[in-house]
């Protein structure tokens, strides 16, 4: 199987944090990222401190805003994009996200379960008499 031969100067893997040189005006990228991040931060503070959202939905709203802002940071500041030259960076990120999700959700699940099902320590001490 022969892979299509590309000229050497064409896209090689791209380093994370390096803006695509073809992208016009990298300062513009950072400025756009800053603007989006400021907007999302302001939205987070407004949502947390007002009754704009239905009160039980505020944690979910804050989580959505935080994840959106992390995405903005990844794309505009760390330049983790969707291009073919970025595959390695995205795959590493995906694995990191998987482990973080497992650690956080697994810990919360197990601890909530223990909290609900275990007897209080005083009762256990009583049973051991």
């Amino acid at each position: 199987m022969e892979e299509p031969v590309q000229p050497l100067s064409a896209s090689i893997d791209q380093a994370p944090g390096v803006a695509d040189s073809a992208a016009s005006g990298s300062i513009a990228t950072y400025t756009a990222g800053l603007a989006f991040a400021l907007l999302l931060t302001a939205a987070s503070f407004i949502v947390a401190q007002t009754h704009l959202l239905w009160a039980p939905g505020i944690p979910a709203g804050l989580a959505v805003l935080a994840i959106a802002q992390m995405g903005v940071h990844l794309v505009f500041f760390l330049h983790i994009g969707t291009g073919a030259d970025n595959t390695n960076n995205v795959l590493a990120l995906a694995f990191g996200v998987l482990v973080v999700t497992l650690v956080v959700s697994g810990s919360l699940w197990i601890m909530a379960n223990l909290n609900a099902n275990m007897l209080p320590p005083s009762v256990i001490m009583e049973m051991q008499r």
């Binding site: 022969e2 892979e3 031969v5 590309q6 050497l8 090689i12 893997d13 791209q14 380093a15 994370p16 944090g17 390096v18 990298s26 300062i27 950072y30 400025t31 990222g33 800053l34 991040a37 400021l38 931060t41 987070s44 503070f45 947390a48 401190q49 505020i58 944690p59 804050l62 989580a63 805003l65 935080a66 802002q69 992390m70 940071h73 990844l74 500041f77 760390l78 390695n88 960076n89 590493a92 990120l93 694995f95 990191g96 482990v99 973080v100 650690v103 956080v104 697994g106 810990s107 919360l108 601890m111």
Partner: protein, 210 residues
């Protein structure tokens, strides 16, 4: 690296594809990719502390809770400091890539001032809490709070020191390849700290102060 030697060009043949299709990547890409993997492992370490905090955030042992302790206007200023320092850090990398050393120094100075302001605000918050008797030994909630936020603060401190070293290195050696590689890694580190702060601000402060 050895893939190139093994599958290297045969005489008269097309260049054989290596693992990535085209042989070893430049040093800059390998270094930044390795640092990216380190940063992801750092984020995984933070995730364990985030999980700890989320589990323990209600266990105040009769002591003060987040609602009593957190001042959101201070957190807002801290967030702005970190956001703008991320921006100026990006500008510093752009400046050094374009060999504009003076712009690089100015951006670094701004980044340092903003990062130091963030750190000062965090330390004054910690000092105020400890003075009120809400130190890390008061309750499980406060232990988790001080380890999580303190670890982020320690990272910021390390980042500020690293940046001082990088400015000194640029002054001594000029914008050479290895200096620019290290600056790229530093900027990745600084941006990643910002991402962790977003999670921290949301989970600890905004949800905790409600």
């Amino acid at each position: 690296m050895s893939a190139h030697a093994v599958t290297g060009t045969l005489p008269g043949a097309m260049p054989a594809p290596a693992a990535s299709g085209r042989g070893p990547a430049p040093v800059r890409i390998v270094v930044a990719y390795g640092f990216w993997i380190f940063l992801l492992s750092d984020i995984i370490m933070f995730s364990a502390l985030f999980a700890t905090y989320a589990v323990l955030s209600g266990q105040t042992a009769g002591g003060p809770s987040g609602r009593d302790l957190f001042e959101l206007h201070r957190v807002g200023v801290q967030t702005l400091c970190l956001l703008f320092s991320s921006y100026t850090c990006g500008l510093a990398v752009l400046a050094i890539e374009r060999r504009r050393v003076r712009a690089f120094y100015v951006s670094c100075a701004l980044t340092f001032v903003l990062g130091a302001t963030f750190l000062g605000l965090e330390l004054s918050e910690f000092a105020g809490m400890i003075a009120r008797g809400a130190g890390p030994s008061r309750s499980a909630f406060l232990s988790a709070f001080f380890s999580l936020v303190g670890l982020h603060g320690a990272h910021v401190t390390a980042g500020l020191l690293w940046m001082c070293f990088m400015v000194a290195q640029t002054a001594a050696k000029g914008p050479r390849d290895f200096v620019r590689r290290r600056l790229l890694c530093f900027s990745l580190f600084w941006h990643a700290l910002d991402i962790i702060w977003v999670a921290l601000m949301t989970l600890v402060y905004l949800m905790g102060a409600r």
